[in-house]
């Protein structure tokens, strides 16, 4: 494995005081730089907590989270995030929505006004990469759900994050659109050399996209299995129908079924 970008060591995270809900317990995992990792597990296993721990929105009560060799004690702005809900701001055009993170991140906000053209060009290039060329001036509500999710990915990538955290980004889309977006994210990963952590319920999605898959247990969540995905890149959608692919999906499904039963 390459140099680790994200390391989580024996982390406990409890909500609402000492008697509160224990979301994750003894959670440990490592994601290498440039790697595409997926996290799967039964619902309520603390996948979203994992997202918030890595981005520094939550600080764990026990254990250490390290991102890019620094212990996480405050929000980590080298991370981009995208959720299932695209949360585009309806009063801004798609382009202005994508530029929003730059108005917030310290190292860009000062430069934005002076170098607007450069940033707009970058946003337009990203739009083109995700297949939304020429849609920048449209308002989000003029776009379909799949197009909004593409724009959402652009917004997560505009500040050139080293790490992209995706929380079930394709959960609300129909299966054809979802497969299209799998290819978009696959190509983004190949082009931009960004490290990606994908939290998902969809095992086929995880196996198709990821290099490594972490299976989490029911609450309190921890990693019960780590599965390397051996398929060579670039992967074609056709591999979804290969026996070796289905074997991995099948096995993971068994792990999760066990984890659910154990809960």
């Amino acid at each position: 494995m390459t140099r680790p970008l994200v390391t989580i060591e024996d982390v406990d995270m409890r909500y609402g005081g000492p008697e509160g809900l224990l979301a994750v317990e003894g959670l440990s995992l490592t994601v290498g730089t440039g790697e595409f990792a997926a996290v799967v597990g039964p619902s309520g296993c603390g996948k979203s907590t994992l997202m918030k721990l890595v981005t520094g929105l939550y600080i764990p009560q026990r254990g250490v989270v390290t991102v890019a060799d620094e212990r996480v004690t405050k929000p980590v702005n080298i991370v981009g995030m995208a959720f299932q809900n695209p949360t585009m701001l309806p009063w801004r055009t798609t382009l202005d929505n994508i530029l929003l993170p730059l108005e917030v991140v310290d190292r860009h906000r000062g430069r934005l006004r002076m170098n607007k053209a450069e940033y707009v060009a970058k946003a337009e290039k990203l739009l083109e990469t995700v297949g939304l060329k020429g849609f920048g001036q449209k308002y989000p509500w003029q776009l379909s759900g799949g197009m909004q999710q593409r724009a959402n990915l652009c917004r997560a990538l505009i500040h050139e994050p080293d790490l992209l955290m995706l929380d079930e980004p394709f959960g609300a889309l129909d299966s054809f659109t979802r497969e299209e977006l799998w290819c978009v994210i696959r190509d983004l990963h190949a082009e931009q050399k960004v490290t990606i952590v994908l939290v998902t319920h969809d095992l086929r999605e995880a196996v198709f996209l990821a290099d490594r898959i972490f299976v989490m247990s029911a609450r309190p969540g921890r990693v019960i299995r780590e599965q390397a995905v051996p398929f060579a890149r670039p992967r074609d959608l056709e591999i979804l129908y290969e026996p070796a692919f289905n074997d991995i999906v099948h096995e993971l499904r068994g792990n999760i079924a066990d984890a659910r039963k154990a809960a």
Partner: protein, 260 residues
């Protein structure tokens, strides 16, 4: 059916048509039953009264319009400021909200005597009553807009290092604008209620005062003339606010249409 036929657009004509029918039925009913004008004057009699007392009606209408708009303007400024404050943090919200609900529960007519003690009879109590009654819906709406920011949006921005101020300026305040402009229609109507209440109880001008004076002289057509003027002023102010709402936050209407 969906094709537009040339000729009269009945939907657009409907408000005028229904209003006309109301007045015609009213007029005919008064004539048919021979109602005395001190019970219910016919619209024609009221129109005559408006014509006859026009200078007084005009002057008092302007006075009412003045107290209402000043009270409303204060309510907009105060309501917006307080709404942002209340929506800013859960702590302020939790503390202030019960107080505001309690205050809003007091019928404002009961506050007028206190205002009279402080400021005397006249314009000031009317303006303040309009303000007190109108600011509450603005506060609630602005605070609601701020409080319902999607948690994902907040996470995305906070992870990038956004301060509370950034989130408020970039997301919260623009997002609460449709709520704010939507509340203006309610607020202007309430401000109008407030100013007329105060004029009726403690003033020496304004439509409320004029109607009270007309009533004591048993000039029933003039009382009704005042009522009609109030209705017209109310409709005009409401329409103005509806127009402002459309102009300022068109995106909210269009985005809802796209979603629905």
């Amino acid at each position: 059916m969906s094709e537009r036929k040339p000729g009269i657009d009945w939907i657009r004509a409907a408000p005028w048509l229904y209003t006309a029918v109301l007045f015609i039925v009213w007029e005919l009913a008064v004539r048919a039953f021979g109602l005395p004008q001190y019970i219910l004057p016919a619209p024609s009699r009221i129109a005559q009264a408006i014509w006859q007392y026009w200078p007084a009606i005009w002057k008092n209408s302007l006075q009412t319009l003045y107290t209402t708009t000043v009270g409303f303007a204060l309510a907009v400024v105060g309501g917006l400021a307080l709404g942002i404050l209340v929506g800013w943090s859960r702590f302020i919200y939790a503390g202030l909200y019960p107080l505001m609900v309690g205050f809003n529960a007091i019928p404002k007519v009961a506050v007028v005597p206190i205002l009279v003690i402080w400021f005397g009879i006249g314009t000031v109590p009317a303006v303040l009553t309009a303000f007190l009654i109108a600011f509450f819906p603005i506060v609630v709406n602005v605070a609601t807009g701020l409080a319902t920011i999607e948690p994902e949006m907040e996470d995305v921005l906070r992870a990038l290092g956004a301060k509370k101020m950034d989130i408020m300026l970039k997301v919260g305040i623009p997002r609460s604008m449709p709520y704010f402009f939507g509340s203006l229609k309610i607020a202007i109507t309430l401000a109008f209620v407030g100013s007329v209440i105060a004029e009726t109880v403690a003033a020496n001008s304004g439509l409320g005062h004029m109607m009270l004076a007309a009533q004591s002289q048993f000039n029933v057509p003039l009382v009704w003339a005042g009522l009609i003027m109030l209705a017209i002023e109310g409709i005009v102010m409401y329409a103005a606010m509806a127009w402002v709402e459309m102009r300022m936050t068109g995106w909210a209407h269009r985005s809802q249409m796209a979603a629905g």
